[in-house]
Symmetry: C2
Subunit: 382 residues, 2 copies
């Protein structure tokens, strides 16, 4: 007996057929808006689709493959892009965090992180047996992280490492990373920047921040196919992070000898020029999100996070939609369904009282469609 995949979308006699309906919709899903491939990246993906295709000319080390030019990417282009000495490909930001924790701490050590950190920061710490101490945020409605609040926790806990989420994935807050860099150096504690929502969207430089490590998410913010991320580091940690196997001199232990051995790497290559251009145009992204927040405010929605919002990811409070949901048979799901009808993608099913969106991928005209949709939904059901 053959076990076949259930049919999805178009059916086919050979089982699973992939159809992703949401691909051409207006996308405001925060996870997805920075990861959309353009035509060049799609071509690259198709050329290197087959398993281990990227290894055609590998001589035992992913980072030195000459064709496709992974060597140029990892040794020249990405270090310049991140403002750091060395970069390694990873399978995502969390895997980079785990590698740094694993190399820089011992089980039982304490790390100090911001309260807005991603769940995977906590889980990566758990996997390493670490104690996690959190710098609280300012609470409703801004949830700000004041990096000076790291100081008493550093003094009390003598942590092995600091981590700052820049920006966080709930409110799109951009704390003062550079000031924390100064604090970290003063107390001589290594600082890791989680730039999963920054690198590939806005200009970020590890050197300018004055931190020790930075992780990035290529599938989240660098127009790449996943799973793919980056770990950038200061020269002084190379020996520790890039420690080689005692029996295989070319294999780095923290990366198990090789990491993102797939087509994602060539999609990132194909996207680099576009990324270099788009981070330079970050001001326009900020203007766009601020305009969007203003429009949403006129509909009675409140943007959470730092006022004068500075990142495309933004959470809204929408009591009117919540009130409507209480009158609907589908309850909270009505909003998701109404937006889906209009081919607007990205509000989590069930959410009405609070939801988060990203204005990164949509142009101003598309965002106008989104605003009009919210207005229409309120007018129709209120």
């Amino acid at each position: 007996m053959l076990l076949t995949m259930p049919m999805q979308g178009r059916s086919g006699k050979n089982g699973y057929r992939a159809i992703r309906k949401t691909r051409d919709w207006i996308n405001i899903q925060p996870l997805q808006t920075g990861g959309v491939l353009d035509e060049a990246a799609m071509t690259a993906l198709m050329e290197y689709a087959d398993g281990y295709a990227i290894c055609d000319y590998c001589n035992g080390c992913l980072d030195t493959i000459p064709n496709p030019p992974v060597a140029d990417l990892t040794r020249e282009i990405l270090p310049a892009f991140l403002g750091c000495h060395s970069v390694r490909l990873t399978t995502g930001a969390r895997e980079g965090k785990f590698a740094v924790f694993h190399a820089m701490t011992r089980p039982g050590d304490t790390i100090v992180v911001d309260a807005n950190r991603h769940y995977s920061t906590y889980v990566a710490a758990e996997r390493n047996g670490l104690k996690v101490v959190e710098v609280p945020n300012s609470g409703y409605p801004e949830y700000r992280i004041d990096v000076r609040d790291y100081i008493p926790l550093i003094e009390r806990h003598r942590p092995a490492l600091l981590l700052l989420t820049y920006p966080d994935g709930n409110y799109g807050n951009l704390p003062d990373a550079r000031l924390l860099g100064t604090i970290a150096r003063k107390y001589d504690v290594p600082l890791l920047i989680n730039g999963a929502y920054a690198v590939g969207r806005l200009p970020v430089s590890l050197a300018e921040i004055g931190a020790d490590f930075i992780v990035a998410s290529a599938h989240k913010s660098m127009a790449a196919s996943g799973p793919l991320g980056l770990l950038g580091m200061h020269r002084k940690w190379e020996e520790r992070l890039l420690r080689k196997s005692e029996r295989y001199g070319g294999k780095e232990i923290e990366f198990l000898g090789c990491t993102a051995r797939g087509a994602g790497v060539v999609t990132l290559m194909a996207s680099m020029t576009r990324l270099q251009e788009r981070v330079q145009a970050w001001d326009r992204q900020v203007a766009k999100v601020q305009w969007f927040c203003g429009e949403m405010q006129t509909l009675g929605f409140t943007a959470l996070g730092e006022s004068a919002h500075r990142h495309d990811l933004v959470a809204f409070e929408s009591p009117r939609l919540y009130e409507i949901s209480q009158t609907r048979r589908e309850k909270g799901y009505f909003l998701y369904k109404e937006l889906k009808k209009r081919h607007i993608w990205g509000i989590r099913p069930g959410q009405t009282r609070r939801f988060k969106v990203s204005t990164f991928a949509a142009g101003q005209e598309e965002l106008q469609v989104v605003v009009d949709a919210f207005r229409d939904i309120i007018d129709r059901f209120a």
Copy 2:
């Protein structure tokens, strides 16, 4: 200043353009022959190319996504395919090995592995601070692993875990995994099967072997785009391997909450029917490699590894090619170049004295072309 990727293949004003010349060649590269995508998998890849596209309907856990049907894949189809209770997606076989080592051992513990193991087995053990004791192989020319040789090492070292490479990636030897399963149970030591060159090529069942864990490589042997692998396990280890975060009840610590969050997963889905069919046709693959070994023998090449070869991966000794290489200006590189001219892909540049190939992807007619090419090269240069 923009840093652009160097031009490759077709040049373009926007930097890197991907062209993979080797895609349509006869491929005998052992890493690559099991990872070739068919049209259905290519379609799936393109639909889910964008970063985090697979997460459209995610509710916080990759394994339960209903569309694309990751839930069916990981909860029903893959456990049946691997003959085990639970399967988790990983980013490759080595990441699965690391997860098992990490969950099942403590730094300083000893594990017993076969001497034919992949380098990443050793590096994953190093990353976990483990001592590695190796069961020797029989040496030239068969390099057999007799699994009874695990017994004295188990008795002497009281290992935390056993690992068997089934088959290994140097000779394509298939040791008696089932007998080792019996031995492991008798001594009450958990057994991990590295099936990177087995799962997706030939029928393998964790239950039939009687082992505790199995790792697979989807980009190596399951017609999927990488990085993607599987970790299958017996029910009794679920609690330990699938331990949840104390603060995020849906997030599994050993997998950092989520693993292969990319298009590779849908390529595997699209390939499942084909994989189920091709493992049933494994006898034809064995017949093909045995025919190929016979033809190569008539040219003066010796197949290494188990005589009566039982896997498509096979290493050859070829003293005649080595002698020729000594007379050529390009030395060992002449063979690679001669094959490349004939659009035959897969011999490592520089290798002549010994090289390994895989007959898995090439049909018999294509393999005849390969045999003819070797004959022609010998005739021309000898």
